[in-house]
């Protein structure tokens, strides 16, 4: 890449890091848990279904 003759120099110390932070461990853990998340069902919402008799 030809950028031509140097005309000036300076130093830059960014106040904000230009490099993105690595994904947080919590976010990674949550993402990895997603397919295996245990669903909890409240007991009040459960009901017992009696099997229907056939041919009676």
């Amino acid at each position: 890449m030809k950028i031509g003759r140097t005309i000036r120099s300076y130093t830059i110390e960014p106040l904000e890091n230009p490099v993105p932070e690595p994904p947080s461990e919590d976010a990674e853990q949550e993402a990895s848990d997603l397919p295996f998340r245990q669903l909890t069902v409240s007991p009040e919402l459960t009901t017992t279904v009696e099997p229907r008799r056939r041919g009676v």
């Binding site: 890449m1 000036r8 120099s9 130093t11 830059i12 110390e13 106040l15």
Partner: protein, 191 residues
């Protein structure tokens, strides 16, 4: 503001600016340890993910001596960026070692920075945004895969649908009519 012509003393006690230069550059995409990574076009350097790239003088092992902190005024070393209109895309895509089409993007540069007539070279850099050219219908799927494989850098990676590689820079110029560089020196003088 300490801004001198060809000053070799890049490091100073107090920085001159607090915002990185944002310019444009072109990368190769190569595979390292089953991962797609950005690589420099002209030297064998891959860009780390989620860590700044630190410049090294690659003349260090040659006849020129080297072994000095990069960049230096008397050398050509450093991490390069330029203005969008300066990129000679047709030359770059004809580069014989390119197995895949290169990608283009903006890069943040900081640390010790040498500003030249048409760009910058600096001691530290990290991609700010990457555009993956998608050449026609058949290139779209390949470009999508490439874009997804570069997401580990944690910066926006976008597809740039074009009919041919020669249209890449004009397409970006349409989208960024002002070039969208950030130039701390120019902008501080303008202010």
């Amino acid at each position: 503001v300490r801004a001198t012509r060809g000053d070799d003393e890049g490091a100073a006690a107090a920085p001159d600016f607090f915002e990185p230069v944002v310019g444009w550059r072109v990368w190769r995409v190569v595979r390292r340890r089953r991962r797609a990574v950005l690589a420099s076009l002209f030297v064998n350097v891959t860009w780390p993910s989620r860590a700044a790239l630190d410049a090294q003088c690659h003349k260090a092992t040659g006849f020129h001596g080297g072994g000095h902190p990069a960049p230096q005024a008397s050398c050509v070393c450093g991490i390069y960026a330029t203005r969008l209109e300066t990129i000679d895309w047709e030359f770059l895509v004809s580069f014989p070692l390119l197995l895949r089409p290169p990608v283009i993007g903006r890069v943040s540069l900081w640390g010790s920075v040498f500003e030249a007539e048409r760009g910058w070279r600096a001691s530290r850099g990290y991609p700010e945004r990457v555009f993956v050219p998608a050449l026609g219908r058949f290139g779209l799927r390949r470009a999508r895969r490439m874009a997804a494989s570069l997401e580990h850098y944690g910066v926006p990676v976008e597809l740039l649908p074009v009919g041919s590689l020669a249209e890449v820079v004009p397409a970006l110029e349409l989208r960024f009519p002002h070039g969208d560089t950030y130039e701390p020196y120019r902008d501080s003088v303008a202010a």
